[in-house]
Symmetry: D2
């Protein structure tokens, strides 16, 4: 553990994941937020942009170069759109600043996969496949020395955690895994768009991006990375009239003779009582994990299928809580510091 506080910069401070990270980090005993950047910086303070922060943090929003950020901070949390993120991260790493990237830019294993799903040539292809995926529950040993960590996507977190141990242990078939996910609206960001307006979202649930959402390959890729098995995943995200939370209902085929109880025991053995994954016997609900870093998973039978239900807060375990958790691993703090 370092003796002085770790200096953190929030890069791209205007959105919901940035606000969420700041609120958690304010209470972190070993961390100091030293910069908040935005291209919309206009001399105002962070609390002008996010009024809940009045008197909790006193920091200007600045339009800083990567060099300036690296001079001030030990680690940057990049809360930027994909594409934009990689360019700044390359500079930050060159300048010696460690990075936890909340975008999708370094999650996938190959430039080909990135090109296919994000439609662009990756500017930093050599780091793909070598950047740790920031799910400490599965990849903790890769985080301590990492200069760059790819913070997981929100939907993938809710699917990778229940699926990975079961596939690794051969308890379920890799074929025809259906992940039906329901997300709160904050996952769509803070940029004004028709689809995010209160009057469009309220009293309405709908599916979107059926068959072509970018989190589908992320789930497959990372489950494969952990378990050695590339599953066939049918993924459908839904926009749900709530602010936070993801509930994923996951339909799997148990391998021959495997019972729901064996599946439950497997998950319990992987996710010890010290961690953030709670294998519960009640029915998970997003409310029970709201504003916590917990992942609730339960196991059910439904005809020939086993149904796994997982719940997270998309802004916490699905984004900024995970980022703090990763920071704790990277800097040697107790993993649940400030988020336990």
């Amino acid at each position: 553990m370092t003796s002085r506080k770790v200096r953190v910069a929030i890069v791209g401070a205007s959105g919901y994941t940035a606000l969420e990270a700041i609120e958690w980090l304010i209470d972190h005993p070993h961390v100091e937020i030293v910069a908040a950047t935005s291209r919309q910086a206009n001399g105002s303070m962070l609390a002008d942009m996010h009024p809940s922060l009045v008197r909790r943090i006193r920091l200007p929003v600045e339009d800083l170069t990567s060099k300036q950020i690296a001079e001030r901070a030990d680690v940057a949390l990049t809360c930027l759109p994909h594409g934009a993120s990689a360019h700044i991260i390359m500079e930050l790493l060159d300048e010696g600043c460690r990075v936890i990237d909340l975008s999708a830019d370094y999650r996938l294993s190959t430039p080909e996969l990135y090109k296919k799903w994000y439609g662009e040539v990756h500017p930093d292809p050599s780091r793909l496949g070598k950047t740790p995926y920031g799910l400490p529950e599965l990849f903790a040993d890769q985080l301590a020395d990492a200069r760059l960590v790819a913070n997981p996507g929100c939907y993938p977190t809710s699917a990778i955690l229940p699926l990975s141990p079961l596939l690794k242990e051969g308890l379920i078939s890799p074929k025809d895994i259906i992940v039906d996910s329901k997300s709160g609206v904050s996952g769509a960001g803070r940029t004004p768009k028709l689809g995010n307006l209160y009057c469009e979202v309220n009293e309405s649930i709908s599916a979107y991006s059926i068959g072509n959402h970018r989190h589908q390959p992320e789930i497959v890729d990372i489950v494969h990375r952990f378990s050695g098995v590339a599953p066939e995943v049918i993924f459908t995200p839904h926009l749900t009239p709530m602010e936070r939370g993801i509930l994923s209902t996951i339909y799997v085929h148990p391998t021959s003779g495997v019972t729901a109880n064996q599946i439950r025991e497997c998950l319990l053995s992987y996710y010890s009582v010290e961690g953030f994954v709670r294998v519960v016997s009640h029915m998970p609900a997003t409310k029970y994990v709201a504003r916590t870093n917990y992942v609730d998973i339960s196991v059910w039978e439904s005809g020939p299928r086993i149904v796994l239900v997982s719940a997270i807060d998309n802004l916490v375990k699905g984004a900024s809580g995970a980022a703090v958790q990763n920071l704790n691993h990277m800097f040697g703090f107790e993993p649940s510091t400030a988020i336990g």
Copy 2:
């Protein structure tokens, strides 16, 4: 068509489906609501129980016998819990009153199925399997002469309509059909329970009754009745933080060589432009069908699966709008009267 107005009794007037039926029937040009009953009747008016009805209808809430109801009304809409419903319906039919039953009592085809899923011996077993299921889109020819119609369940409506033609035409496999449904809270009724409180439901989505919800056998039974094929249905209902609406995301395997387009064409050919089923090209959302009798269905590809998405208003097409539609068929009115 009758020359005088059809006299309708609302039996069990305190809940949401009763209120919804009343609001639609008030505007029906050929109908007169002549009675509203409740065992909680205490001399008050219907508008005391449902303040939105002030000045729209002037009717006392009464605790009437079946005989009294039958003397006043040509048809009763029974908005009662299952079990309670069948006993009253037997009496109403004996007294010559036609019935549209919003409970589940007459939906299933056999007493054995009823016993298995509702845990009780059916008091009126001979009518099971002979009572028309009130989905005019599939069973219109059975409704005109019916003394009793079993109004469909809300979830089943959203699944039976997309699945039935496709199974009948052999375009999809009957195996491993996954119906992942999301419902608003009004489906749980108006009786105060912890699980229906605002603070429990708000900002929370959760699954329930996985593998054992009573609407699963209803879907299988009615699809079988229409198509001759008994499908394997994995059904998961979810409670969603909204008042109204059901969205069902249905994962099917197309039979060999069948395309999404063929499936779409099949649905279009079954559901003509005059009816309430809209085969749409946009992504259905519960908001787009809210407070209407429409069923929106769209067809998507996702890996090897075809995904059918359907949306209804659970209180309208999923309950009271369907009841009015059935009433129109039973009494020879234009099918969309008052709900078009």
Copy 3:
């Protein structure tokens, strides 16, 4: 009453008030919607812009000139921002098209008042003060022959209706009338803005425009026009986490000796049982008037004050329902046609 259908154009069809007007007018037996315009017209259909309209109306969205609109339509409902509205209305009137204006452009009585509150010189000053204010409950006799009607503001409707009779009859003091109003989010329109995002509005109530909202002078002006008394109104609007509805809590001083009961009787005598104002004894709630053209008003005592509580649906009686009501008056239809 005209023998053929009245031809209506919806000018500015992309927003919530336009959609609401269309949905009511579709069911109007004496009206035909003949045009829907938008400057964003791109060859698409109305139902592409508003998917709830699929199969309910088949009309392109067009970018029409005032002349083209007037050639097709007997009356235009202008759903445009203030300022933009007056310019088009002058042309429409010149071309012989009658107009119901949902903007604020013709509500105030003088150009000076308009300049003060809207910051611009009114382009059509001679019509101010001569254009009927479309509250048939107070100004019905001015509507039949009107070429142009100023459709009331949403907040003003909720305040003018309870206050006007009481001030005219001298039952309350014109001094220190406090109107504390709570509105759903649809009042803020359909243009994407940070403040209308689901995640900003949900679980949050806040006041805005304290002491300087443009509906304050509208309330004062119109109450004065009806009652001859210019009241002192302290008006505070609030943004409430719901889609529809306005609840106004209005604190008045009764004049010496006047009781709550006398105030109630006065309102009852002004608002007969045939109309849309319901003087109720229960506590009004926006839910009880949602999607109706009703105005619920009740009267309460609180210390030395009388508290009037009124509830409307801001999109119906506060906008498009009132527009249909005005249309009925302008064309000689029964006042509640299509909205009763």
Copy 4:
């Protein structure tokens, strides 16, 4: 400060204020929760009653006598209905257990006032008027030695804090103060009642208890206690479709010549930057204080009135956060411990 942890009992653990207190106290470094009681105790664990607590606390729910509670705990947080609370508190105090009472039983100054507003003879009249009112911002000096603290009501907190300094300093008139308050639904508790159902509350705002809510005398009594002036308060609470939060819009008459700026300066001078009251220049919103112990207050002009707007989280500063704050004062901890 004590060297060992303060042992806390939660008396009446089933409701929302109890859950909220437990969640804050879990993170309190100097506190240990040693008991959770409920008359509905049935051998289950606290986390069965509140699933969000799984793995965060391991404690049975027990039906304990006051004596048993006092043996285990240094202080009890009583989360019980008024009436029931006083009886248990008398016993707890007799047994030597300190108490923070979240009910209304010890807030008012006289038995007469209690009898008038709560309809019953107070069982412990001698403690009325002598029990500190737990608003440390106003009465901190009374808390350190207190055996019993009356935790403030939610609405009163939002009104007493802005009003008290202004009345004490003579900046506003005590006459005709209008407090128009909007509360989230959690204030109504967790007991299933029709009025708290999702489908009743959602998309609806309404006033209630106009002119006779029990928090009106509490506001008057406590403002009087602090400032020496008994104000005339017209209080109207509203039920708002959200889970948490109170926004109070308070209309006052400034005394002659007093400006909004002087009022703002007065509040700033009373509520130092170390405390939980934030005198802000932006418009308060319940979202900005949600899940914090902050009170946001701002000052506005509206005609001859000054409008004070205050926002709190009703479950935190309006209930359980205040209880923790009081506990900190009673046991000599830094006032913001665990809630800062």
